[in-house]
Symmetry: D2
Subunit: 353 residues, 4 copies
């Protein structure tokens, strides 16, 4: 049966979308000045301004999401500062201390919240107790929100505004890790502007990689106040690409013809199809609501075994929980892959019922 890929390990295992391939190949048109002094970067910037409906926008493109987050955080947080984020944030769990390196030793503070969303109450409580201004204590400097969260849920504009309001009252900056920003927007039905600067976000890590590109992430700043630090830190960390046009071309492709939204909607629909299918299978329960392109399901180990036997790829025992699996969909996920996967699960459920 398993003649279809069934690769739900990560968006990053899927092939690059043809539009991104085309953009990169076409950018290879003769000579072009290096280090962003070329028209591709300029056009990408204009496109981003259109997408986010503002001229107060500066962009710094790099090749990985870890880099984009670390540069943003490093530019926003002093060494004696801290980043308040959900305990499950990617910067905390999967970036090997990149934010600590780029900020010269700032601290990430893990705060709770249901289904990956930072709790407004937990944030307020922490800030109340944080000994702001006391030199013995690390000083809270920014909040960092992940949208989609690492639990595959989406913040709505109101959620974000509520958190940024608390943060700002204590003088904190606001960063958003938008590796799956498009998926969040697709689910919530809000515009990029509503999900970012209109809700108080100052700096957004905007990902195109999980949207199907070769690898291009843009630090989008909606305020000029971090620009000097962002520009120098990008260069200093080896993330200023000499052949910049090939990164810019991917950002351009992301915006053009709404590719970002088309791809995100496709992936989200696939995830929903999977989630709905799994819900009706005995012994399976969803761990988190499916609000983007990720499905977190609790299932019997025998069912996980069956999936692996069938060649299905996924993150088993996510965050070390012995029954929780993570399945990620992408622009490339076909309905038949979902159906095939559901079929394996359903069959495995039979003897267990």
């Amino acid at each position: 049966m398993a003649t279809v890929p069934m690769d739900f390990g990560s968006e990053n295992t899927s092939p690059v979308h043809p539009a991104y391939v085309k953009a990169v190949v076409e950018a290879n048109a003769g000579y072009a000045t290096n280090f962003e002094a070329e028209p591709w970067t300029e056009r990408a910037l204009e496109s981003l301004k259109g997408l986010f409906e503002t001229d107060q926008l500066w962009a710094f493109t790099v090749s990985t999401g870890t880099a984009a987050n670390a540069i943003a955080i490093g530019a926003m947080v002093p060494p004696y500062g801290s980043v308040l984020c959900h305990w499950d944030a990617h910067t905390m769990t999967d970036e090997c201390g990149a934010p600590e390196m780029f900020s010269a030793g700032a601290r990430q503070i893990a705060l709770p919240g249901e289904h990956g969303r930072l709790s407004r109450e937990a944030l307020a409580t922490y800030l109340r107790e944080a000994r702001i201004g006391v030199v013995h204590a690390i000083q809270p400097s920014i909040i960092s929100l992940t949208n989609l969260t690492e639990a595959g849920t989406a913040y709505r504009p109101d959620d974000i505004a509520g958190l940024t309001e608390v943060a700002r009252k204590s003088g904190l900056g606001v960063h958003m890790d938008g590796a799956r920003f498009a998926n969040a927007a697709a689910h919530v039905g809000a515009t990029p502007a509503e999900l970012s600067w209109k809700a108080g976000v100052e700096v957004l890590t905007l990902g195109t990689t999980k949207n199907g590109s070769f690898g291009a992430e843009t630090i989008v700043a909606f305020t000029p106040k971090y620009n000097t630090s962002l520009a120098f830190l990008r260069k200093r960390s080896g993330h200023f690409a000499p052949k910049s046009r090939f990164l810019a071309a991917q950002v351009q492709a992301y915006v053009d013809d709404g590719l970002w939204l088309v791809n995100a909607k496709h992936a989200n629909r696939a995830a929903l199809r999977m989630a709905e299918g799994l819900s009706s299978i005995a012994g399976v329960s969803l761990v988190h609501p499916t609000e983007g392109n990720e499905v977190f399901a609790s299932m019997p180990p025998s069912m996980s075994d069956a999936l692996e036997t069938a060649g299905c790829k996924f993150q088993r025992d996510w965050r070390l929980h012995p029954r929780h699996n993570r399945f990620v969909t992408s622009w490339a996920t076909a309905d038949e892959e979902i159906d095939c996967m559901l079929d394996v699960c359903a069959r495995a459920a039979q003897p267990a019922s």
Copy 2:
């Protein structure tokens, strides 16, 4: 006449070579595990072992040369250590302190040497006076050689061995910045092995970007002793590419069919043609010997003006010297571009004579 590009600003302004484009496009073949757990990375490693004629080789691919140098240096040098290099080294002049960042504050020590080559005597003198073991003084930890040098000259195996011998006597490690390693090998006529580990190099930054790729540099380690630091520092600095196959495919293409050497020889020949042509023009003199794909020429400002008027791209007033210009050739440089450029210079020389 100037209907040909005449872009000698940098190899990085030239188009990507078709073989690299083909390799990247072909690597987009369905799904592949992320983070180097895919066959492209494995094959690239095998190819590098073949190219360098050794199994004692580990590779860490990243997207920029600054990153490759900084990760290598950061892994080799303690914070209280120093990097001994030529004053004109790229790590010193054009990487915004990346080695300092990645090593948590180690120091680069600028040493002299003619035509960009580190002087063995200067190195030995510095080491003799370096107060090794004294806690008040920064401790020399590695030498870092650039081949081609920033003056466009090449170290020969004997030059390298002479320097590494001095370094090792004082317990120092040896790094080589090989952004233009292929050009050096093409000029010198030595094998990659002879120019690296056989001459005492422990860690080599091997560049494919200036050889015509989209952007891929490999930290090639000929000893396992820095591997843990290299691996974690690469990830921690945001340089571990999720879609690793697209970097690996470029490294593979570099090695395959001797593309590295073909491209380097082409570029070197073009530079030599330019250098020979310039030598016969009144008022022009070569600042450094042409031993790779770079020509450093002293010429009257009026001639520089004429070149700019003709649309020629080059680095004017290199290192702020008012008459020195740098011209860089690449795999893409056509003879007629050189001839056109020489013609402009020759015409400009007339009235000046």
Copy 3:
């Protein structure tokens, strides 16, 4: 009534013990070579070897406890590493990120445990789940134990050995913050050796400041493997005192005639007197067992008010708990101060009962 100091804010508010004053004044005997090339440092080292019953001992004296902890941790932990410690550790709560700075961005991981003692189970669980060897994850590098803990409790040799055994199985180093090491030893009745290297501690931050000195802390290493890093990091962080003899003289005084133990026993007895007295007062309960020179008591706000009105100094609302107060005793605490303080509490309790 309050004619006695009743200052229980910190040992550091009490006067310097006469033996330390004498030692420092006597060390001012004519000329002496700077930077530890003098006999005071040599003699202090010998004394420490005697105190700890081992020749495998190296010492690095500095002027503050934060410095001693940070240098020790910085020398033991790579930038991509982590320090596993109790959530209430001083390095975590009150050193403004010094360990992060000195390690170039390593992370402190807060683990639970009753009454300030790190839980062996929590440690084992964390290590089991820590993804050791995976480059995406921060790598556990050492455990850091505080003895006395920040809750005023003491680890016994068996407790320490149990924790270090777990740590070593995963290849971790072992650090102990011994700002109140003497108080722990006095309570437990174990020798300094039994509480340190015999139980698996590799590097001990040994404090004399809270024991009554002007300010001198020694990083005591029981293995030479961190010595190079310790020596350079101490200098590089500005903690290598030119007039070293005045620090060494304090360390010497700490050891001589068992001053460390005399002072610690005195302070511990005072704390016990306070704890016993408070236990019998209505409305007061001890938050943690009193195993050293610190008393943590829960009492009605009105009683805290009465103490403040009477001029008593203490840390009110410790760790932001609205009823918890911390009282610290020292070598200088007189019985009448305790009795006076208890009297205030007892009077304040009357109306509340």
Copy 4:
């Protein structure tokens, strides 16, 4: 004859001046709040304001000169910035990269100048060529002047103003390392104000250690703009002393009754006596003008041998020059020590003539 100390190795080898001893002992008067919330620190601040004739003054006291310099520089310079200083500056040669550590990797740029004084022309030239605003290049952020210089010469107010004017035109901050500030003031005959803020200095490292104290250095800021960074960096680097009163008492003693000037004048006079004496001895020549408490003399090795044999302490072969010796005087230097030393030199000169 050599029954007198003849210790000219460093001011730091001399005994502590009685006034500093008295101040420290007297500060041990009962209880006092820790961490500068006590009257000694407040009084020292007032004294400094009086000494420098300004209310725009903030002070951060630490225990070593390396710490004071590193904290000042770390607070003033971003990681991608640079410190322009004389090649012979103490921060460059003898602090093991402390400025690099505290600034998270900024670079020190060595500039020339006769007799230890930074050349105004060299500074202007460097700034003209520094590629300010270009992300590939480290950005000049401050100048750091040492007064006395490491060559024992003194900057006059006009010298300083000339350099700070050049610095400010390019937007740079101004730091002064005043480990021997008192000696410079004593020689030049200018007030502390004239030698600091009136000449454009923003942050001064003011040393009392070489003036005869146990060890206390104050970062004196004449602008509030670095205060937050200074305060947090001091704590974070372990340099915020819990028993702060003992540092403050030394600063107070430095100011009181003009002790700073009395001690500096005494030391300067002793150096001048030595310099004049040496000048008349055959085979001896002064390397630098004697403008403070340091004498740099070139003498035959046989004369250096004779001094060593006589028990004289000094820095032989300073900066590795085979005939240059450094002799330092202090508040404690007696005329007979100078005369005894000169006598040894004169006798050694006889056979050589």
